[in-house]
Amino acid sequence: MESLAQSLNAGAIAPEAAILIALLACLLADLAGERTAARLVPPFCYVGLGTSLVLLALQWSEPTADAFFSSFITDNLGVAFRAVVATSTLLSLLISWRYVERAGTPVGEYAAILMAATVGAMLLCGATDLVSIFVALETLSVSSYLLSGYMKRDARSSEAALKYLLVGSAAAAVFLYGTSLLYGVSGGSTNLDAITISLQGAGVTPLSALALVFVLATVAFKISAVPFHQWTPDVYEGSPTPVVAFLSVGSKAAGFALALRLLVGCFESFQTQWQLLFTVLAVLSMTLGNVVALAQTSMKRMLAYSSIGQAGFVMIGLVCGTEEGFAAMVLYMAAYLFMNLGAFACVILFSLRTGSDRISDYAGLYQKDPLITLGLSLCLLSLGGIPPMLGFFSKIYLFFAGWADGQYLLVVVGLVTSVVSIYYYISVIKMMVVKEPQEASDVIKDYPAPTWNLPGLQPLRAALVFCVAVTAIGGVLSNPLFTWANAAVEGTPLLQQVISNGGHLPTG
């Protein structure tokens, strides 16, 4: 028994196990009734996710180790993305409690399902075996479908869940087809290393090209890259807002980790092809996401389209295939985590107080609620890439990496669409700040005096302040984050190998 446990190296998934234990504790607490659950579940979640983050920190820069007979790997890249996912869940949960209670839906199950999604996403970040990847992907997806339909009495929520389920299942089917082709190429192995070797040996064949396209389609679906994005706005509009916060960060981070493992790792010999495809996807995502966001009247929908555009920016780093590119990608994901969740915290607080998420209803908010106004403004400015916010530095790093690698098209498109995005971000800020009191919307005229005494509002405020603080100050003090992102790339044999192969082939 001892030797089995050692050869499994089960300690590699200790962070996930911590979350899993918290999940079970939440389910058990839920048996004691709704009130007890509402009291006990939040601390359980904090402890579980906190432990998980501590354990991840302990894994950081440890020598890369295989676990579960090379189904799972603990390289720095995986640890970094798992940390992003776990943090996004922690922050999403902090901003969820009041929303979920206000809607009258069970809290214990909500936390449990969200944590199951987290476990799936985290395992997806480190999985190196097609079967593990698929099961982790499905754990994440099924939990996400359930969460988007969580406000079950609301037709919009049910519609979102149904759309997400149908499109997601189709994507899963395509992924399975692709992986079955890969299984055939490798002569009966599901391990990514074995597949990499056989793909390199086989060269570019129609079969492997088809597998690439199928796998890429699923990855693009997960990170909602145009033209695989159609589900995003509807799902984001209909899902409960804290869930959207998680989907836009945690789920997307897992998607990018999957992209790195599969495309950069497995399809290394197809670099030219997938880089070309991703260049197209990135250009389309940046353009369409940012241009369509201009026309939105709903805050959630606008953030949905903006997240499509943001994913396009991250793809620049992926296409580069250089050390700076990968580091910029990791850095941008981390920065995006804080600025996006900060924005969502403000949006949730606003809708809790007013029951609205229309942009026009934000008119004149400055007079009534300076905290939301300040927080939302800072986060939106950061999302737009205005100095000296965190978003500016990470975006400039991305563009720098792209330019250094010769991806001129991508960088130019990125710059132009950034300007477009600044326009619609600023117009929200203008709506909040510049309007005179008499121009304020009806909602703002009836705005309740801000109180924090209800259960669940304190965690929301804490998350809001924390995210906004990191977004605002992180820009100035972003050196640790730079080092962190670079260490993530340096401590990852997979990426190091690709970089040392000198394998970037300019395609832009």
Partner: protein, 199 residues
Amino acid sequence: MPPLAEITQLIVFGVLALAVVVGALGVVMLPNIVYAAFLLGGVFLSVAGLYLMLNASFIAAAQILIYVGAVNVLILFAIMLVNKKEAMGASPGVGLRRVLSTGVCIGLFALLLRVAFSTPWATPGPAAIGEDAVIRLGEHFFSDYLLPFELASVLLLMAMIGAIVLARRDVLATDIGTGESVDQGLIEKARTPLLMEKP
């Protein structure tokens, strides 16, 4: 006897393959959803037959148990419990859409065919292990596929809990924090478009 055995095998394969293809096409194209659901059961059974021909009897039995016995029965259940005989309203441009989707499907099919025929598959694959398959499966589940195996339990647990949460009737209809009654909908209420709000 080899010729006889081979001919039998070929015939059985032909029948099963035909059943799978025709059945699957029927599932997609038949307007009557009940027929489609029953045909789906037939497709699952034929696939089980294909597994049997590949000497994978355990997988074949599992396929019947799970897909026919559980999945298909549940699909039929759902259809029969909500069986409203309402024809779907003809959506505009349905003809064009059909033509387009047929074109895409045929194109994809041609592509897959080309790939399938142009690839030098490593046939024959490893020899079938027949009756020992169950033991081999168990060994894999508890060694190199332990992680997905255990994760699948999390997935199933969550799917079950989620399904119960979405389906159960005795819902909590008050806000725990304030005791107000609530409607279990999104906090952001849908409102009539701006132009219609004010007369």
